[in-house]
């Protein structure tokens, strides 16, 4: 059994067949972390004692034949902006390097109660500010496919750890592409759920109206299994939909004959890197082969997405980071890194007296136009497919001196957050030299995750990219 290819499904199968115990599996992952993470740097904190303690408890249940919990004995790790009670949570920032939360957030709690084993807390861009992982105050995570290249951000450690087989699943957040971009750069499946599907309670807020709570897995099936546990109202987040879906795996294997897939023409521009364009076109052909109808559509305000995003997001960031004053927890504000300072100042400016109407209010108005683009489009098609990044993963240092250039890498991901719709990033191949992953995203109307899984599963089973693993 190749540990790098373990999924939730195969681990549960292993427990059922008594192939191994929870402690066995947990130790396997902990050993891999010890072996490879000094290089890959995906973990900020490894909770070895805690994990083995959880495993022991679950093995007791295993002995009694009780493995009914939906994620029984599945190891996982959380992006280090998910608060975990009693376990250091840092946001990968010097401001919180010694913060020990007094409570568990909803998603952490639900996953715990579902039978998972916590391996530790994952590296990310500090405060989730970034697209490459380079803004971590503790040093960046590396792309397991080629450690000279960024794994994408801000959920850098979350993506890289799953890609490297250091954990089968991990949690992440997507505010402007922070799950989809690293997923597409690491050959993993990254889900950005609909805004209002998964509770944000217990996840450090970046941009309150854009943050979406999701996860990384190796397969589409695993992604749906996790969503079954994390989704739904909790009484602590006022922006959640009250209705609950029964099972995200329903209809997943139905196939996609007759499904209308739209390709937004603004997303496939001449400015894209050749190999990214190539892989996308191959993907389109695969969808056609599977029986989908491909339709060209237009999202006319795509070009304004970055501007809208880089007004709304920093504005909300500047307010959400105001609580970090070193009094009740954490270190003084002088410990903020440059990118955090930049975004706080930008947001303070765009909300300030005399500028609010021209910036924040204007951005909220253009937001209405962007939402309308999607609403109109979804009247014509069931879902959209598009590339995630106009470029391949880049080398460390290539964009650090130019914040604006870094921001532009979000061009194909931000309007999804602005509209609040869901998007699933799935592996779509590799570049040739060096071998770096390329992904595509499948977007749908609000709360259409079941359809996204259905489409993603068909593509995954047709292409089998998920079976490839990096050599470490």
């Amino acid at each position: 059994m190749n540990i790098q290819q373990l999924t939730i499904e195969s681990i549960l199968e292993g427990y059922r067949n008594k192939d191994f115990s929870v402690t066995d599996v947990t130790k396997m992952y902990l050993d891999r972390i010890k072996q490879y993470d000094a290089t890959l740097h995906t973990f900020n904190t490894v909770t070895e004692e805690h994990a083995l303690h959880d495993a022991k408890r679950l093995d007791q249940m295993l002995t009694n034949g009780d493995i009914s919990l939906p994620l029984f004995g599945i190891p996982l790790a959380h992006k280090d902006i998910f608060v975990t009670k009693g376990i250091r949570t840092t946001a990968s920032s010097n401001v919180l390097d010694d913060y020990i939360p007094q409570y568990d957030g909803t998603v952490v709690s639900r996953l715990k109660n579902a039978g998972t084993v916590l391996l530790g807390k994952l590296n990310c861009d500090a405060w989730a500010h970034g697209s490459s992982g380079e803004n971590s105050d503790f040093g960046p995570a590396k792309n397991p496919w080629n450690t000279e290249y960024i794994p994408g951000g801000s959920s850098s450690g979350s993506a890289a750890s799953v890609a490297a087989g250091l954990t089968p699943v991990s949690s992440g957040t997507d505010t402007g592409g922070s799950i989809r971009l690293p997923a597409s750069f690491t050959n993993t499946v990254g889900l950005k759920p609909t805004y209002g599907l998964v509770s944000r309670y217990g996840v450090m807020a970046m941009a309150s109206s854009l943050d979406s709570i999701g996860h990384f897995t190796k397969t589409v099936t695993d992604s749906a299994l996790l969503l079954n546990v994390t989704a739904g109202p909790d009484g602590f987040d006022s922006t959640l939909r009250q209705e609950k879906e029964n099972d995200y795996l329903e209809n997943m294997k139905k196939g996609i004959k007759g499904i209308k897939l739209g390709i937004p023409k603004e997303y496939v521009s001449e400015g894209m890197e050749k190999e990214v364009k190539q892989k996308f076109e191959e993907a389109v052909k695969k969808f056609e082969k599977l029986g989908a109808e491909i339709v060209e559509v237009s999202l006319p305000h795509t070009d304004y997405g970055i501007a809208v995003y880089y007004i709304i997001q920093p504005s909300e960031v500047s307010s959400n980071l105001a609580r970090y004053d070193g009094i009740r927890f954490g270190n003084p504000r002088s410990s903020f890194g440059d990118e955090a300072k930049r975004r706080i100042m930008l947001g303070t400016f765009t909300l300030s007296s005399g500028y609010y109407d021209a910036y924040y209010k204007k951005a909220m108005q253009v937001r209405t136009l962007i939402i309308k683009d999607y609403t109109n489009t979804f009247e014509k098609v069931d879902a959209l497919i598009a590339p995630v990044s106009p470029t391949l993963p880049w080398k460390f240092g290539a964009k650090v001196d130019n914040p604006l250039a870094m921001y532009l890498s979000d061009a194909l991901t931000v309007t999804i957050n602005i509209a609040g719709i869901p998007s699933l990033s799935v592996p779509a191949g590799f570049s040739s030299n060096p071998k770096l992953p390329i992904g595509i995203q499948i977007m749908g109307p609000h709360f259409s995750e079941k359809k996204l899984f259905q489409i993603g599963y068909a593509f995954e089973q047709e292409t089998n990219y998920y079976m490839e693993v990096p050599e470490l």
């Binding site: 009740r328 927890f329 100042m345 204007k362 253009v366 914040p403 604006l404």
Partner: protein, 94 residues
């Protein structure tokens, strides 16, 4: 557009070293220059969307639940005294 970094940093309760001011000024001005792109769009009659959910009236009943203990509340404070958080006295009133 020139951003007054000193003023903005003060509003944001951030300390910015003298040496860094011009660097931040340039970076922020570049970004603001880019986001000015939105002026290309006529939004005179477009209503703003502060919230994508479409939800209204999300409330809860007036029923208590247990609070953190005093110890839990103070557990991450660098300075505490008799169950209270301690901070340097600010001379200005709010």
């Amino acid at each position: 557009m020139k951003i007054d970094v000193k003023h903005i940093a003060k509003l944001a309760n951030l300390s910015v070293k003298e040496d860094d001011i011009s660097r931040f000024e340039k970076q922020l001005s570049d970004i603001v220059g880019y986001i000015d792109k939105l002026n290309e769009l006529d939004t005179k009659d477009t209503p703003p969307t502060p919230q994508v959910t479409g939800l209204i009236n999300v409330f809860r009943p007036d029923e208590t639940a247990p609070s953190l203990t005093q110890e839990e509340s103070l557990s991450n404070a660098k300075k505490k005294h008799n169950g209270l958080f301690v901070v340097e006295q600010i001379l200005e009133e709010k």
